[in-house]
Symmetry: C2
DNA sequence: TTGAAAGCGTTACCAC
DNA sequence: GTGGTAACGCTTTCAA
């Protein structure tokens, strides 16, 4: 594999000159440039990104750390990120995390500016010490769907989203509204489900509606778990007439659970989800839409600006709007049961 | 940011010794090791992956080039890849390609062993010259859902899958069977849709059934395009009683198109897809299942073995099985129309 | 067991 | 304009 010296030798010039040609510096005569180019061609020479990175101190690489990157919502965000970086010539290094250990390892390893020129953290609150260290060392960091001190964040107001969903159900006339969310103690410190739940409870309280016993359930963030939860909810002597799920994935589980119980949606049971992932439009799920793609796009853009070093990235919070998308899984409660 | 020399200085040893501690060589006394470790701790020292990679000649990075990585089938394959690499300490560099230009740029850039220690190419036939060059330079390459000379491939028999789907429809009694596939001239050289189509036609021919005029359609690989196609198909004076779509994404478009036309599935129209992506089980789509996750897992494993340098990777073809998954979108054709 | 020094393939600064 | 030569931060002989 040819190196810059091979090219230099063949072209009868110094390595520095080859480097100049490579980085098209103006300080090279046309003739020399041509000779160098010919040598490069002949040798099929390609500069080593590694050596280049070491020498320049920048890896020309952007890191993305994201938990469960194959989940629909993560994929949608990544689409936005990729879109933002399209044409920027930065390589995308993906740090997938599925366990807290993995998260910690990644953060420990990225604690140098040369692993990646910048870091985008999606849907994961970085351990404060790691984040502080990163910031201290001047590594540009942007957070999407998470908050952290001293760095730009792209977020939504989950509690507000919870309110939106709940109010919609209330407006339809429901009073027996249940909630299914993630397990409260998660090892990653995710908070969105809890905040959506908080919005749910606050709205009911404001409306003077009681949260009945057993109407708030927690299960792993999976379709099947939500489905099982729904079975239990529907087996109550006073089953809910509506269920608000903390995510579309879970809402779809709820729909399956309802189907299992022989219930028709929305006639017998109303369902509201959260996120608006791709599948949701297909199944007609009423949901709180959050701009997933946009969040990635904006976060990615912010990071790109930062590594390009325009200005130090302002550590501001970009709050994206939430919106209730009424489709066909919500309706007034069945009269017979009111 | 501390370097290995800072650590060496603080511990009162040479850089080489620190390196030995880092790579836990046995040739370091316990006392020295302790001193070095303490210095590392105190300085919060982290070795530079870049410098390490340059020195060792291996980047400790695995590249994945994949077109449209956010498509459901690609995501599913990537899940398998990530699973195979889990715990291997290799970083995953993702080369997303959405245009032929992007593809070519990526291949041109990866043509050095130091961009990535190995390359997994998913669902994309690599340009033969690039592939040959990679092989010549000893870069381990594995292909998933694509074929290429001199490297291991993980594939399925798409034509056979097309036969499976078509035979199923035939067995149910359908004769008016239409096909919707990708545009024949795609810039990436994808062949799966064409081969599925070929299997479709061959099966009909073998059964002595004519492919009617206008029953074979091509559209961009998107839900909406398939939906529009379906509308046209159903507007024919002799509309099909069954549609075989070259992918689940398109099959779902077909289902939407049928719904648009006021048709009930499978009573009025049978639909068969291909892939078995996640959404398919939810909507009950009958489809030709291909082991997407497995393909990624196997391909990833093969590449890992190769970069770990056990043996030079055997350039064999791993053919994964296809299977017709009968769910609820297929039934005998409506009697009234036969 | 350890230190010194020579790479690894670039870039960038300094002379000429 | 161009060549020589330090870095860049680590690994890996080679001696000692």
């Amino acid at each position: 594999m040819a190196t810059i010296n091979d090219v230099a030798a063949r072209a009868g010039v110094g390595a520095g000159t080859v480097s100049r040609v490579l980085n098209d510096s103006p300080r090279v005569s046309a003739r020399t440039r041509a000779r160098v180019l010919a040598a490069i061609e002949a040798l099929e020479y390609r500069p080593s990104p590694l050596a280049r990175a070491l020498s320049r101190g920048r890896a020309h690489t952007l890191g993305v750390v994201v938990p469960f990157f194959t989940h629909a919502s993560a994929v949608e965000r990544l689409r936005g990120v990729v879109d933002a970086w399209h044409g920027s010539r930065y390589d995308l290094v993906l740090f997938n995390v599925e366990t807290p250990l993995q998260r910690d390892e990644h953060f420990a390893n990225i604690l140098r500016r040369d692993r990646a020129d910048g870091l985008l953290v999606v849907s994961l609150p970085p351990p404060p010490v790691d984040l502080a260290r990163l910031v201290r060392d001047g590594v540009p960091v942007v957070l999407v769907d998470a908050k952290g001190a001293g760095v730009p964040c792209v977020v939504t107001d989950d509690a507000h989203g919870g309110r939106l969903a709940t109010q919609h159900l209330l407006d339809l006339g429901h009073e027996r509204i249940a909630f299914i969310g993630d397990l409260p103690d998660n090892p990653f410190g995710f908070t969105s489900s809890a905040q959506r739940e908080q919005g749910f409870k606050a709205t009911l309280r404001d409306a003077g509606v009681n949260v009945r016993n057993g109407y708030v359930r927690h299960a792993p963030h999976e379709r099947d778990a939500a489905r099982a939860c729904t079975a239990r909810l529907l087996a109550l002597k006073q089953p809910p007439t509506a269920i608000f799920a903390a995510s579309d994935v879970q809402a779809i589980g709820v729909m399956e659970g309802a189907r299992d119980a022989g219930l028709r949606i929305p006639r017998d049971l109303s369902v509201v989800g959260f996120d608006d992932i791709e599948i949701s439009s297909y199944v007609g799920l009423t949901t709180v839409r959050q701009p997933l793609f946009q969040s990635g796009r904006i976060g990615g853009g912010l990071l790109l600006d930062a590594v390009r070093g325009a200005d130090p990235p302002a550590a501001e919070e970009h709050e994206l709007p939430l919106e209730l998308l009424e489709r066909s899984t919500t309706a007034p409660p069945p009269r017979s049961r009111t």
